[in-house]
Symmetry: C2
Subunit: 349 residues, 2 copies
Amino acid sequence: MSEPEKIQLAHGGGGRRTRALLDRLFLPAFENPALARRHDSAVLSIVQELSLPQAPGGGSARIAFTTDSFVVSPLFFPGGDIGRLAICGTVNDLAMAGAEPRWLSAGFILEEGLEVALLERIVSSMRAAAREAGVEVVTGDTKVVDRGKGDGAFIATSGIGIVPGGLDISPARVRPGDAILVSGDVGRHGIAILSVREGLIFEGDVTSDVAPLASLASAVLASGAEVHCFRDLTRGGLATALIEIALDGRAAIEVEERDVPVNGAVSGACEILGLDPLYVACEGRFVAFVSEESAGRALAAMRAHPLGQGAARIGSVGSDRPGTVRLHARSGGSRPLDLLSGEQLPRIC
Amino acid sequence: MSEPEKIQLAHGGGGRRTRALLDRLFLPAFENPALARRHDSAVLSIVQELSLPQAPGGGSARIAFTTDSFVVSPLFFPGGDIGRLAICGTVNDLAMAGAEPRWLSAGFILEEGLEVALLERIVSSMRAAAREAGVEVVTGDTKVVDRGKGDGAFIATSGIGIVPGGLDISPARVRPGDAILVSGDVGRHGIAILSVREGLIFEGDVTSDVAPLASLASAVLASGAEVHCFRDLTRGGLATALIEIALDGRAAIEVEERDVPVNGAVSGACEILGLDPLYVACEGRFVAFVSEESAGRALAAMRAHPLGQGAARIGSVGSDRPGTVRLHARSGGSRPLDLLSGEQLPRIC
């Protein structure tokens, strides 16, 4: 008899194995149109449900709904902690659907023996991040597991946001000719976690970029840019986000490696560790796919915002080979980017 | 220096320590009106947020939003499993706010090494429970933690439901003279978990009562009964639910012990184990506080529903000693019921 198939760390890494689990298990089991769109948030039409009249001027009112569980290790890291991460991660998933985040829930799974003072620091960091993002934590739950059956604290947050009438932002809307922007330098969150986890000291300080991105996303929308898709860069970094969009939107993505902003300390750390910064996680960065004509104003709107000062244009959508991402390397030549099949940095969020 | 305060299993037990953590830490940190109502779900008015016109006939449209994390051990037990529990628990929290459950999210925290076949059984059980409850799982997330840092699988579910216009169901509406009904016999879930966890064999089969209660709650509402409060009986059982309502609604609750339905096998098991069935968890039972005049029709509506056949009237709200629950014992005499200060049955949900 063969060994039964088991869950591996890579099933949670956001790469090929995570996608396989989704395709094989979760999507068929819970089959419905919202889930099938594979976006960070489900966008739900609520007007009919509430038996409300349509808003004047058309455009049906919708809410966005999302969830994320956070298992980052360690709980505190340069630039943030699991509490800030839990608020920002859920706020960002809502913002990536074009929604204005409003209400969050928080579920805590605590390990017996966790110091209450640590929990207080985590909760106080959540409170600060929620204020920064303009959201309220309106409901919650606490469970405790026996010592050795958890790891300090896990936090599951869900969120509800309001999607402005008429707005449709998703991989399906990406078109040949779209410009691709990134809101800042990539890879800081992953390297910050790794530095403290492994006790590594890198030249220059690397702090996590974890931040709530709703006001930045809404500044891009308010600029009048024609936005087709937003995606935040979490597990698997920039490369994974682009590959997912290419697959889900049947887009032919072309990226210029030299145009992708990477902080010097991050790039040095990646070199030492043999990591590709394109695959290292961020928690405060996103990509925007906008029409070529609006690339300028979208980029200007990003750069005028404190969280988007390092924004850059990194590529375009072509028409050859839909469903792939092609990297034009700094060294010349080009190669396709692939989903990671293993786990690069476990438990970074 | 004194030992720093640490999280204990009892902080997750739903009793005195859980309440203290909520009062001291979570409520002040996330202060807002929805959270302060301490209901199972936050009820949120959405009409203004969506810039929608009011519905004709008044009554502002609202949604209910709730979350729960599930850490039950073992993952499979007589009558259910963590997947069914995760769907039903969240559906029931919505139903207890008078909402019609619609959309759920599911976040999985899996331990490295979990057999994929087990996960498949859990997900398939979630799918069946979601169908039974008439809800859709529209968004989700999977994280994996290293071996020994989790316990097979934890599941966090959140949910959104629609609250019919004008409906207000909460502890604050409980009034002297209200009749108190319970939807069936109590304590089966806790004893079912304990029997398999401890390898105990009890006389008669004890299977968990885990079930989605939304259609039963809505049958009570549809009967025309004047419902003031619903509360499902989870951690800490019937006694804890009543004490929470007494505290939050400043109600003087009187309960007749002899009228509380307890299955013979549960009562036998409790006797052997030294447990009070009033404090043992259910996952498919709730209490309803209704006006005295509508007690008859509410009870009839419950008994006509497959999940409420064992419903009974168990007491009334008086006016002496608001904020307390008084048990009129089978043996004669009466005594106040208190929140448990320790953990009776850890990880039953």
